[in-house]
């Protein structure tokens, strides 16, 4: 084992971590909003909106992110009307495009995950809410969302971890995050395994922290299912 090489590699890669985190948090943030909008369209009962949401999920969940990102970044620039529109100053920026395509993609997945969570809610509890006059937003906020979120949490933490790894594709559009830097190092040094192991370690640590956080969240949100209520213990 060549420790000087490993430590140098590690330092180089660590410098790219802030970029990875920036891509990650921005795309999770916007993706979540978009996903909520899509779920709302999907289950809201309006057939037109529901069909649009279905189509969205189909396209963004069904095709590889690599292709989506390529088309968003390189494809949009091929159209004159976009190049000369007010959007171009934004779309010109690689970071914006990377976040845009990451968020568009995760929104499709997240929407499906939350829809699954909603399906798992006991119909009886929904009825009880309707019977006191809850509907629309209040019903969602007070009953559906908390229960659905709790059900969806394991799948959603998976999706978040996936997003962390998906940021790796951003080097395709000249945003150099951890994986991109690792690949660049590899094409300079050809020590594939060592460099990749360092990168893997970084992702593993980042994801481990996220998963641990999600597990804690899951635990604190499932007090009602634990055998003995904490209140009775102490």
């Amino acid at each position: 084992m060549d420790f000087t090489f490993l430590s140098q590699t590690m330092i180089t890669l660590l410098k790219a971590v802030p970029m990875t985190l920036a891509l990650f948090s921005a795309s999770i943030f916007f993706g979540l909003f978009l996903a909520l909008l899509i779920v709302w369209m999907r289950v809201g009962g309006n057939p037109v909106l529901s069909a649009i949401a279905k189509g969205y999920v189909f396209v963004f969940r069904g095709s590889p992110l690599l292709i989506q990102m390529f088309l968003v970044f390189y494809g949009l620039g091929q159209f004159g009307f976009i190049r000369y529109s007010f959007l171009w100053p934004f779309l010109r920026e690689p970071f914006v495009c990377a976040v845009l395509s990451l968020a568009l993609c995760t929104a499709g997945y997240t929407a499906e995950i939350f829809r699954g969570g909603i399906r798992a809610i006991s119909p009886r509890e929904i009825e009880a809410a309707r019977s006191i006059g809850m509907s629309g937003f209040v019903l969602v906020r007070r009953i559906l969302a908390p229960i659905a979120f709790r059900h969806a949490l394991p799948a959603y933490s998976t999706e978040i971890v996936l997003m962390m790894k998906s940021t790796a594709l951003a080097s395709l559009v000249t945003v150099w995050e951890v994986t991109g830097v690792a690949q660049r190092l590899i094409s300079q040094t050809y020590r594939t395994m060592e460099v990749f192991l360092c990168a893997a370690l970084i992702y593993l640590v980042l994801n481990f922290i996220i998963l641990q956080g999600m597990t804690l969240l899951e635990y604190s949100l499932s007090r009602h299912r634990r055998a003995t209520p904490a209140a009775l213990k102490a």
Binding site: G62, S63, I67, Y74, I113, R130, F208, L211
Partner: protein, 241 residues
Amino acid sequence: MATMELIGFGSTGWGALLLLGAATTLAVTATALAIGALLGTIVAGAKLSGNWLLSAMGSLYTTVFRGVPELLIIYLIYFGGSSAMTAIGTAMGYEGFLGLPSFAAGALAVGIISGAYQAEVFRGAYLAISKGELEAASAIGMHRGLRFRRIIMPQVLRFAIPGLGNVWQLSLKDSALVSVTGLAELMRTSQVAAGSTRQYFLFFIIGGALYLILTSLSDRVFNGAERRTNRSMPAAAMGQA
């Protein structure tokens, strides 16, 4: 016109190669899903077992294989696997190189990853089963295995189908990374076609469309399964006012 020729099935058309790529992708993904189902069941069982050692091992598996970039796992299995096999071969007196075939290495790698995701899906589905129904099964003396087969499995499948649909999608796309093993699946075929003809947008769009076709086929399968398992659920509580 030139476009139609490029994606057609004539001597200058890429149609046949792209379809072959799609079929390879489908085969890799399906094999991986089967491997993953087996691993996922075992790992989910370990995590739910209540035995701390087993559940720690299960957690380790899901954390590592979800947390480490897929590409690396594919590398490890493809290159690491053949180094190991070559070493064993040499020890047994065989001269030269022994390798996992690309397809086997790719499907195994994607399967191991998919196993981590399926484990989480199964675990979530298990937790969604009504406790009362499990108690009712214990109360008539169903032993573990029977309870698993008769009560847990059917309900886990019911709750897991949407999640499995997601895992299928993931594996479909992870299979695109298998191209580093030299397997000509859909993604690599699209890239080769794009690079050889310099028609990048055309072939990426065609590639994307073929992925969507694969998705819609698999969606049909999963939706059908979902509908069938939903017969026993009360009429849609969500749909109406």
